[in-house]
């Protein structure tokens, strides 16, 4: 019964990984003028592709951008999702059903489509924010300028992701038996104290899992900047690490260096995820 999964796993996950590893250790050697058959051959390159990838200023700055982007997105995403989840779970909030559905709704919109919608909302000639600023008499913001475009992309990720993470947290809040709160209430604890002292510690595993999933998603940001690219000059073709991999592999036909770069990214994602997982291993992935 495992056979179909095992075959597919080997073909579409294990084999590509091995193949990338092999490619990342090779390079094309050009002899003579590079003309005629046999003048180009593939030779073993050792770790030189890795050295080149790690030393490439385009790569380094794309990593820097994604690092900054992650520092903006992950904490903001988790805090907003947690606040919304706690508000939904609070006994003093109204319109809970409506808000939950509407805040979760962007999860149904593909990243390309949401980038497209926000892209137009940012575009100075269409943007309602510019209209608003003009009518208030304040200088119109250029949301797609080199300095602000990273926030513009972060906003798209937040718009699409907060609701999903909120539902994850809300589900685990709902799973807490309510008698746990009774004692605290008898001692006179208010909603906020119950939230901070009881609810948050209990749902900590969910928080950490959402953090890991957000982190993984952040490091491989691709669709949003690629979709916004035609609307602004602020996004280069190496804006994020994956965009650089794409450019190297398909625009420059440098498969070997693209492979090395994608291995570096995969290892980084793995290292970060495992670091987080180790911290919570027992609690988060407990066997049933």
């Amino acid at each position: 019964m495992l056979a179909p999964a095992a075959v597919l796993f080997v073909l579409f996950m294990a084999a590509p990984i091995v193949y990338t590893l092999v490619l990342s250790l090779q390079k094309t050697q050009v002899s003579g003028l590079g003309l005629g058959s046999g003048s180009r051959k593939t030779v073993f390159a050792g770790l030189s592709n890795y050295a080149a990838a790690l030393g490439d200023p385009d790569f380094v700055s794309s990593v820097g951008r994604v690092g900054l982007y992650g520092l903006i997105v992950v904490p903001t995403m988790l805090i907003l999702a947690l606040v919304f989840a706690l508000l939904l779970d609070s006994r003093r909030t109204r319109l809970v059903g409506f808000s939950r559905v509407v805040i979760f709704l962007p999860y149904a919109v593909p990243a390309v489509i949401s980038s497209l919608l926000w892209g137009f909302l940012y575009l100075p000639s269409v943007s309602p924010f510019v209209d608003l600023a003009t009518s208030l008499g304040i200088p119109a913001p250029n949301l797609l300028s080199p300095n602000s475009v990273i926030f513009a992309i972060a906003n798209i990720a937040l718009w699409g992701g907060v609701g999903f993470n909120m539902v994850v947290m809300y589900t685990s809040l709902k799973a807490i038996p309510s008698d746990i709160y009774e004692a605290a209430r008898l001692d006179g604890a208010g909603e906020i104290q119950v939230a901070i002292r009881i609810k948050i510690p209990i749902i900590l595993p969910s928080l950490i899992m959402t953090a890991i999933f957000s982190l993984i998603a952040t490091l491989q940001v691709f669709a949003e900047p690629t979709t916004l690219k035609p609307l602004t000059n602020s996004i280069s073709s190496t804006y994020t690490p994956l965009m650089k991999v794409y450019r190297d592999a398909f625009t420059r036909n440098d498969v070997y260096s693209a492979s090395a770069t994608s291995i570096v990214i995969a290892v980084a994602i793995f290292a970060l995820s495992f670091f987080f997982l180790r911290v919570v291993q027992k609690r988060a992935f407990e066997e049933n």
Partner: protein
């Protein structure tokens, strides 16, 4: 809200109408808390409200009129979009439905088999298999997309439907979820009973286990469906022929052309609106199934 919570409330009308059905005698509504939620909801609705308005405008009016004032060009825009290169847009929609629908279905089937086997059989290397699976959950799909391209290119499958469909059938997370469902919902006694009656493993799985795992498998299907529908990089890499594009890659391409031919912008916007509608409808119908519990590693349906 689940049906049980609602009936619990109506059975005890004297208590507060708290949705969780908890005893809540002195809960005053907090205006600030409700307001914060509504601000969040308004933020989430803003781009959707905008696209509804913008798709009623002609290409020129898009840049000249106030953003949130509608015009009457929606039908014209739809006609233009439909005429664009012989109905290419609707082909993208069909492609998307095919990739997501067939892909998610196959993925749920494969996950169900593997999850059931991992939960209910003991075999050599089971623990190792499970560890590989967990590692697989963390391997980002987009990292795989480029090597998958090169492998599929070698056997000549790139730029075909298979190139987008096949890599997305295997889902470590789907298998992981299916394993949890099989563990939680299929009692060992039932399997024993089936064996005693002489049923084959396949029959036990199909006739006994699958119905019990049903709600869980629906969730696996939904996850994969949304995942494939959202996936951009894989089809972006794999496909060169725009008649094979899913809607995301198609609209992205159209937007790209729009930077030189702004008249295409109104097509892009109308196309975005029309592509969201089926998903939003599906989502609203199914949203009560989405109870995601990543912390416990399970999704309850």
């Amino acid at each position: 809200m689940s049906i049980t919570a609602k009936s619990a409330v109506s059975a005890r009308p004297a208590l507060s109408r708290n949705r969780s059905g908890r005893f809540a005698a002195n809960d005053k509504a907090s205006v600030i808390a409700t307001l914060v939620l509504l601000v969040g909801a308004a933020y989430c609705l803003l781009p959707l409200a905008w696209v509804v308005m913008a798709s009623t405008k002609s290409g020129g009016a898009l840049f000249t009129t106030n953003t949130f004032v509608p015009a009457g060009q929606l039908w014209n825009n739809i006609v233009e979009l439909t005429q664009y290169r012989g109905g290419l847009y609707w082909r993208w929609m069909l492609n998307t439905a095919l990739y997501a629908g067939v892909g998610a279905l196959l993925s749920a089937v494969v996950s169900a088999f593997a999850g059931f086997a991992l939960a209910k059989y003991t075999f050599k290397g089971k623990q190792a298999t499970f560890m590989v699976l967990l590692a697989g959950v963390l391997v980002p799909g987009v990292i795989l997309a480029i090597p998958q391209y090169f492998l599929l290119a070698q056997i000549g499958l790139t730029n075909t439907y298979w190139a987008v469909l096949l890599p997305q059938i295997i889902s470590p997370y789907g298998i992981y979820l299916a394993r949890i469902y099989a563990g939680a919902s299929v009692p060992n006694e039932i399997i024993e009973a089936g064996r005693t009656d002489g049923a084959s493993d396949l029959r036990i799985f199909v006739q006994l286990a699958v119905p019990m795992m049903g709600p869980g498998l629906v969730t696996v299907f939904l996850f994969q469906f949304v995942g494939i529908w959202n996936n951009f990089m894989l089809p972006y890499i794999m496909l060169g022929d725009d008649r094979l594009y899913p809607i995301t890659v198609g609209l992205n391409g159209l937007l790209n052309q729009g930077s030189t031919v702004p008249a295409l912008y109104s097509l892009v916007i109308t196309g975005a609106l029309l592509s969201i509608i089926p998903l939003v409808v599906l989502f609203l119908v199914l949203q009560r199934f989405w109870k995601v519990d990543l912390g416990a590693g399970a999704v309850k349906a």
